[in-house]
């Protein structure tokens, strides 16, 4: 733990956004894609705190989130939005990061309630992770203690607008500056922290690996990481594998 403090965490990354797509057809197609994407969002609500109580009215008939094309999804693999609804204890944050990494890109994180912004009324707590976007790339905060369904809907509409205009691409930041996020996570959880997801491999997969994807923190991770054995399909002709 002692040498963990000495590894610097880069606060700012390179602002390397996507170059604008060339050609009219490509641009129209991209815009159509972004429009469609913003109109069909599956939301995994990871209800961590009291803010979750405002979600049922937002989702059900009174405010009816589904008219915006947003509906709940039960697994992260199919979800687009990760909704973190309230204070995040350190123990919970591990689960949130695991869940976030299991989602397929593009993916968006919304922090609801003041607790996710700065710890809110838990700002003095030793067991609460106070600023969510140190650990995950948050696309949008909906502040308030707690925000009314109208605020939630407004926030959702803002996220839709951001997706449509291509502003909501913080998920790429997680791959580009993985070392930064991992560093903050390690500060909180200790150097043995690991999730089953191979984030660096995914960054390569999406073509998003940059100079800050890897660094001293990922090197530390690789020292401790115990990879899961591949669960491959085998036919009868192969020899039985030794345990």
């Amino acid at each position: 733990m002692s040498d963990l403090k000495q590894i610097p965490i880069h606060a700012e990354g390179d602002a390397g956004g996507d170059p604008k797509s060339e050609g009219l057809f490509t641009r129209v197609f991209d815009e159509l894609k972004a429009f469609c994407r913003s109109r069909s969002l599956f939301m995994l609500h990871y209800c961590t705190g009291c803010g979750a109580i405002e979600l049922p009215p937002a989702m059900t008939s009174r405010f009816d989130m589904e008219r915006l094309g947003i509906q709940p999804m039960v697994t992260p693999r199919q979800a687009d939005i990760l909704l973190v609804t309230g204070y995040v204890s350190i123990k919970t944050l591990k689960r949130i990061i695991l869940t976030y990494e299991q989602m397929g890109g593009p993916k968006y994180v919304i922090g609801i309630c003041s607790c996710t912004v700065n710890g809110g009324m838990y700002w003095q707590s030793y067991a609460t992770a106070k600023v969510l976007n140190e650990y995950l790339p948050v696309d949008l905060y909906i502040a308030g203690c707690m925000p009314r369904p109208e605020a939630v809907i407004t926030g959702m509409r803002q996220l839709m607008e951001n997706i449509r205009t291509g502003k909501a691409d913080n998920w790429k930041d997680y791959y580009r500056r993985y070392d930064h996020y991992l560093g903050n996570q390690q500060q909180l959880f200790g150097e043995r922290w690991q999730t089953p997801t191979d984030v660096i491999g995914e960054a390569d997969h999406y073509g998003l690996a940059g100079p800050e994807t890897t660094g001293p923190h990922t090197a530390l991770l690789q020292q401790h990481q115990v990879p899961l054995q591949p669960l491959e399909m085998r036919l009868g002709s192969r020899q039985e594998r030794k345990p």
Binding site: T92, R95, L98, Q102, P196, L228, P230, G236
Partner: protein, 618 residues
Amino acid sequence: MTLLDLLLLLSLATGALAWLLGRWSGAGVLAALLYAGQLALLGAMDGSAAASPTFQVLGQTIAWSLDPFGRFFALITLGAAIASAWFMAGEWGRRYTQAGHSLRALHGALAINVLAMLLLLASTDLVSLFIGWELVSWAGFLLMAQGGAAAVRAALRYVTYAMGGAMAVLGGTVLAYAWTGTLDLGLLAERLPALEPGRLWLLVALFTGGFGVKMGLLPFHLWQAPAYAEAPGPGTAFLGAISSRMGLFAIALVLARLVTLEGLDGLQILPGQFGVRDLLAWVAAFTIVLPTFTALKQNDARYLLAWHGIGQGGYMLMGLVVGDAMGSAGGLMHVFNHATYQAALFLSVYAVIHRTGTADLNRLGGLVVRMPLSFLTMLVGIIGLAGLPPMNGFVSKWLIYRSLMTEGMPLLFVASVIGTLGTILSVYKLIHNTFLGQLRSEHEHIREAPWSMTGPMLALCAIVFVTGTAPGLVLGWVADAQAALGLPVLRYTLGGVASAKGGLDMLWIVGVLFGGFGVGALLFYGGGGRSRRVHQLDNYAGGHFLSADVRYQYSDNFYAGLMHRIGPLYRNAFTWLESALVSAVDLAALAMQGVYRQQAPAFLLLMTAVAGLAWVVL
């Protein structure tokens, strides 16, 4: 020497060779080849093929001859025998021998079963029918009783039922001879419909009840599932595929050919409202629904499938009783279809048992990554069993449903659909609990079954798919069988049925289905086709970190919610009825014993002898 002589001789030789060479490692392959030879002889037959040996009983000629109806069943029998013999040709047979069982007894019993069935299917009169019937019953017992203590108990229960059934058949035979003066099926077909209704009622009841025992028709169905499930592996597949269909064969022979559907229409319970055909259709409907929902409750894969075997028999009888061209074709075709997918399903279950040692659905799971070919077999099989396109089960069920609708039997249609609902639910349980979900850590290192086992499984899969896509291949035989039975003949095409009221063309359906897959594949691969395998433990369980020692996705008490709703409907009424009957017989036997023990035995003997003499003299 006719072709049927050759066939029966080869079948006999197969039995002898299987018994003599059963210990030799190549016996399974040899047996499969011999069955294939018999199949080739069957294919060479044309029209009705008679056998040379005949004998005389009561001045009547007893002979054997295989018509297209019998040939249709013989074809399925031999196909099932090939698959079973092939399955035990390699590692399965070696393991079976190592476990202290006799492989040659199993081979021999299988061959005897085939011979007995061929004899039954070739019968031309009531005596040869009864001989064949008894041979089939006892041959079935030989195969069932080889699986250990539970199997012997189940087999004894079967024999009790089978003897009861055989007595009914014998009674029917005697009465039919007494009332018509002939044993020949052709002559009976002329004389039986002319009998007075009371006598015809009795004959129909005796024959249908007697043959229905073998078929597992309600209320005589209780023996079947344990007897089939406990038989040794390929034996189960063979029995499940074809054995109980012999009952259907005999019922169809009696009802459709001898009594004829017009003759049956003369037997009314409420004249004009409810006749014997309606009664049989409702018995078939209950045979569909009740065993299917019993299957839903089973936690042993073998029992689950065996109970479904009883339920699917109901569909076949239903189709036959409806009796129009489509319905009877559906019923007969379902015999073929059921044999193919049921054998595939049983073989895949036994492949799993071979590797894991259990068929307990609560102790399996996640095997798809270890046994993908067995998974494929089970997937194809359950699609067939549930009656969904593009597998062959869909075609026969479609024909049956269609005829129920066009003949105006909506309630029976609903009953069949409820049965199908139960089927879909329980086959999902079967494949989920066996192959999907979490791989148990004790199964981490198993591998796919050897090719000697996956070979027949995949071959059966291919048949299930091909005859589902081009049902005309089977409907040709079905139409010949219908003609031989005297039923209206279905007009078929390669893809299904051409009908002015809306036909069925599976070629189109399968084409559209795979076209849909093609569009999806085009979109996926056109868009780059990027995919990534994730580990099973890299999974979502409410955010939990998963490890191999934590059970997070497994099945125990599957369908707990459904059982909460429908559980109280299971009353075990038939089990209760059976035990009440057993108690009554026990009591009667005890009473007889008491009389015999307390009175002087010699006195009783004397009384019996005097009574017998008096009867003879008077």
